[in-house]
């Protein structure tokens, strides 16, 4: 059965497709976007099949080439990465539909190169999610990072090159930290398989505590950069705002989320919660950093006039939510943090797509010039309104679900100050999103004729906007069926 190999296929499909894209493109360029979308859709199906298997029979352990772990490479899928895998590949699928027209306009004549790298990034991200091998993490991290640098660099303005360069340098520093961390752990345990590492680590910590601590520190810093945790976020605004629209939508909604997932994986599966709480107290530091990120990101977002840049800073703040949920170290907050991976992914993808759509039609990036867009692009604007309300946390949208769990989690942890942070951040969200509403809809702009983006760009936006609402109303199912068992596994309490 082909679905028996689904854990590997989610990675291999886009990887092979990346190689075949130039070949197909050599014969017929117009086929490529459809081909890419189809491939990603297949990968999406496999991803669903994986989570189904997990829900029916428990965690999956897939051995590459039949080499048993810890000797061979293992792909291990449980509720956490099964869920993240679906979310990520679904968003990429939607982005791939959106990308067709957007790329035609922004990167004329370079579609083959774009889609090749796009698929490489997809393969890299999926690999990062499903792998159960720590060195494999590094490999996929590099594949996806290099693909991301390349995608950022093709942005229209020349500044994109600089942004990409910055991203490259900071990203490589981060990758080096992570590699060092992996090396240190390998040194003291002699294994790279995550499950195996988790078993051996307590003993190794007794023998060589300093090495293990150093490894943990390396991981923490390395992943903090990849996640874009304030104040290590500096690569993010430039990279997101200067990349082509489709790339911004994809990077902002998937890459940092996958990095957050790997961070959770390393912290909770390899180093156990006990180690974090009682030995290194990393959770307190992380929680405070996250709180600062939430506030600082929002404040910086208010200061922006470039729409995409504003969204990028908003991401800085939203990443803070995810990390805060993880760092509060209780099940409720963890639920909020992990579900925010999905919620923020959907919302931010939609928002960057809206930004891309407006640029596609009018070329406007400055929020103050948005006047009248509510009339000329009514559907895009309506979608933006819905998603922005969700970002603010109005029920019954997904943004509310995240905030609800984070607030309850903060109360549970007895950290009232973080409740205040969440409240303040909602207020700041209102401030910077409302400015956009005002400009879009009011100020008595002369209404032009309706001039919407092509359907292949509009539909993805509308689907994501609808999802911010539907997944909010129907949040109970994923919460009960996926989140509850997931949290029980990674944070037993």
């Amino acid at each position: 059965m082909i679905f028996d190999n689904a854990p590997a296929l989610v990675v291999i499909f886009p990887l092979i497709a990346a190689i075949t894209v130039p070949i197909i493109g050599y014969y017929n360029k117009r086929l490529i976007p459809y081909y890419v979308t189809l491939v990603i859709f297949c990968s999406f199906i496999f991803s669903i099949s994986n989570l189904r298997t997990v829900m029916q029979t428990g965690s999956i352990s897939y051995t590459m080439g039949g080499w048993e772990p810890p000797f061979g490479i293992e792909y291990a899928i449980d509720y956490l990465n099964g869920f993240v895998s679906i979310v990520v590949i679904f968003i990429i699928f939607i982005v791939s539909i959106y990308a067709k027209k957007s790329v035609e306009q922004e990167l004329p004549g370079r579609t083959i190169n774009f889609y090749t790298v796009f698929l490489l990034l997809t393969a890299g991200l999926q690999g990062l999610i499903v792998t159960g091998d720590l060195f494999n993490v590094y490999v996929f991290l590099e594949i996806s990072s290099i693909a991301a640098y390349a995608l950022v660099s093709v942005g229209k303005s020349r500044d994109a090159l600089m942004a990409s360069m910055n991203y490259l340098i900071i990203g490589t520093v981060s990758a080096s930290f992570i590699l060092l961390g992996i090396g240190y752990l390998y040194m003291v345990t002699g294994t790279l398989n995550m499950a195996d590492l988790a078993d051996r680590l307590p003993l190794a910590f007794d023998e060589r505590p300093k090495v293990v601590l150093a490894a943990f520190a390396f991981f923490l810093v390395g992943f903090s950069i990849k996640v874009g945790l304030f104040p290590l976020h500096t690569w993010m605004p430039d990279a997101y705002s200067l990349a082509p629209s489709a790339v911004s939508a994809m990077l902002a909604s998937t890459f940092t989320k996958v990095a957050a997932y790997v961070m959770i994986r390393v912290m909770f599966t390899i180093f156990k919660p006990d180690f974090i709480i009682s030995t290194v107290h990393a959770h307190t530091i992380l929680a405070w950093l996250a709180a600062i990120a939430i506030i600082a990101g929002s404040v910086l977002a208010i200061a922006q006039t470039d729409f995409k840049r504003m969204l990028a800073y908003s991401s800085v703040s939203q990443i803070g939510y995810i990390i805060l949920g993880v760092a509060l170290m209780n099940q409720i907050a963890m639920t909020g943090g992990v579900i925010h991976i999905m919620n923020h992914g959907i919302m931010k993808a939609a928002l960057f797509m809206v930004a891309g759509a407006i640029i596609y039609k009018t070329g406007i990036r400055n929020i103050n010039d948005f006047k009248g867009i509510g009339k000329t692009m009514p559907y895009t604007s309506a979608a933006f309104t819905l998603v922005a309300l969700s970002m603010i946390g109005i029920p019954p949208t997904v943004g509310f679900v995240s905030k609800w769990y984070l607030a309850l989690g903060a109360i549970e942890a007895g950290m009232w100050v973080f409740v205040g942070v969440i409240m303040l951040s909602s207020l700041l969200n209102i401030v910077y999103f409302w400015r956009v509403f005002e400009n879009m809809y009011f100020y008595r702009a002369e209404g032009g004729k309706v001039d919407e983006v092509p359907l292949s760009m509009l539909l993805p936006i509308l689907i994501l906007a609808a999802l911010t609402f539907l997944l909010g109303v129907l949040a109970l199912y994923p919460l009960k069926e996926i989140m509850a068992p997931m949290v029980q596994i990674i944070l037993p309490g």
Partner: protein, 495 residues
């Protein structure tokens, strides 16, 4: 208590929502578009009215839409208090709709489709708040109301309107955030947010300090009720077109605020807990400040709408004062003041609007002698003003009578004095308006007459309504009967 499960409460919320969608699709045909609003208003009112007999018989109507998060359903429950607010809003909405049509067409306003769309959504919010069965659903519709009324407030889109709108939004959204926190905290402590007749916080061992903090955050959360010092959004929102002010003041927003405050006091904290912890009396004294200070503010304003706005600030606190007394008479007076104040204040605002449209006057000092040209309008205004001061036989007298009884029952002389002083102050700031309009000679020849029937008829009807409610308050199926059921529910814990 008997519970009936029907879809009616959901229908009541859906009717204006569907109306809003229809409005968008018929934006090219003004007559059809405005027809939807009127039709929806009537159907909505009949739907709400059809629930009245069951409620009066002591039953509650319930409907669960969906369980969104664990133990956190979107759920409707109509009890006597909810029906009271629902009935008031849906009934007065019909009048504001007619009046809006007259006003907007009279001034040839721009963006009328957006205006009527938001108007419909606002009533979705108000009805949703009235019929919500738990804090979560209430919070949901509270936010709907905030967001949907913002475009109405800034309708003129002038820089002044935009800055007024920002203030409006900032206050009410901040309130929403505090309400969010309060709801989350209640859920955390009790595992539910469903309203109960004897309160839900009692018996969970929550420390008194925590209860007090929670009460404060709840009251900040109900900033729509415009307690001082969180009142200044209301006068700022006066930049809105007059029908919107009527909607904000009488039908939806501020009433939603006091409704929320009352729900929190009686159905979340409960009479017993409020009494034991002493929060009730603290709140009563706290709102007394608003009652008096707002009246003084009202006197300083020459702009009629601003004066009315401060009068609202003051009158809203009557409602919360009555409820905070926690005695049967006090609660009766407070609850009764919700529909009564609505009737009187909507009359006053519609009169102000009629003057703006026909006489083009906004300041009281300009209104010399307009009573001779617009006698019906100014008579209606006089009825409303008398009611505000609590003079018989207008509705305001009845609610104030119960409030006075409540303060005597509670043996609180200061509150009694505040109530009497406030009546005097009301006279002091409404009398000049009436005097100027009827008895002063105009500076120049006045060349206008009464406003169009679209505006004149609604304001006459609401003025007559205020009189009927005052002369015959205990008529069957009127508000007093409903309030009696509500008071019996909360004082006996719903048995």
């Amino acid at each position: 208590m008997e519970t009936i499960i029907t879809i009616k409460p959901l229908l009541a919320v859906l009717i204006p929502l569907i109306c809003a969608v229809l409005i968008i699709f018929s934006s090219k045909h003004p007559n059809i578009r405005d027809g939807w609003s009127v039709a929806a208003g009537v159907v909505l009112f009949l739907t709400v009215l059809s629930m009245l007999p069951d409620i009066l018989a002591g039953r509650v109507i319930q409907f669960t839409v969906i369980e969104m998060l664990p133990n956190l359903p979107i759920k409707f429950k109509v009890d006597a208090f909810g029906e009271l607010f629902g009935l008031t809003s849906s009934f007065l909405w019909i009048f504001t709709t007619f009046y809006s049509i007259g006003y907007m067409r009279g001034l040839k306003e721009h963006a009328q489709t957006r205006y009527f769309f938001c108007f419909s959504i606002a009533i979705v919010g108000a009805i949703g708040i009235a019929f919500s069965a738990n804090l979560f659903t209430l919070f949901l519709f509270y936010e709907v109301l905030t967001v949907s009324t913002y475009p109405l407030v800034i309708h003129n889109e002038t820089p002044e309107a935009m800055s007024g709108g920002r203030k409006y939004l900032l206050y009410l959204m901040t309130a929403g955030i505090f309400l969010f926190f309060s709801v989350a905290a209640v859920y955390y402590y009790t595992g539910t947010t469903d309203f109960a007749f004897n309160g839900i916080l009692d018996g969970h061992g929550i420390p008194v300090v925590m209860l007090k903090i929670l009460f404060i955050t709840f009251m900040i959360g109900s900033a729509k009720a415009a307690f001082m010092p969180l009142h200044s959004w209301l006068p700022s929102a006066m930049v809105a077109p007059t029908p919107v002010s009527a909607l904000l003041h009488a039908v939806a927003v501020v009433k939603a605020g006091v409704f929320t405050a009352t729900r929190v006091i009686l159905y979340v904290f409960g009479v017993d807990l409020m009494g034991e912890t002493g929060i009730g009396l603290m709140m009563a004294y706290f709102v007394c400040i608003t009652i008096i200070v707002a009246s003084f503010y009202a006197m300083t304003h020459d702009n009629l709408k601003k004066r009315l706005a401060y009068s609202t600030v003051s009158q809203l606190s009557y409602i919360v004062l009555g409820v905070s007394m926690l005695t049967p008479d006090g609660i009766t007076g407070g609850m009764l003041h919700i529909p009564y104040h609505a009737f009187m204040k909507i009359t006053l605002f519609m009169c102000a609007g009629a003057i703006i449209v026909t006489a083009k006057m906004e300041n009281i000092s300009e209104m010399k002698g307009i009573g001779r040209k617009m006698p019906i309008t100014m008579l209606a205004f006089t009825v409303g003003a008398l009611g505000m001061a609590g003079a018989p036989p207008v509705a305001g007298f009845v609610s104030k009578w119960f409030l006075l009884l409540g303060s005597v029952e509670l043996n609180q002389l200061p509150i009694l004095i505040v109530l009497l002083a406030s009546a005097l102050l009301n006279v002091a700031y409404f009398f000049p308006v009436i005097y100027t309009a009827f008895f002063q000679k105009p500076d120049k020849e006045l060349t206008f007459g009464e406003a169009s029937p679209f505006m004149l008829v609604p304001l006459t009807l609401t003025a007559i309504g205020s009189l009927i409610l005052g002369i015959w308050p205990d008529a069957p199926y009127l508000f007093l009967e409903l309030v009696n059921v509500a008071v019996r529910n909360v004082t006996t814990g719903g048995i």
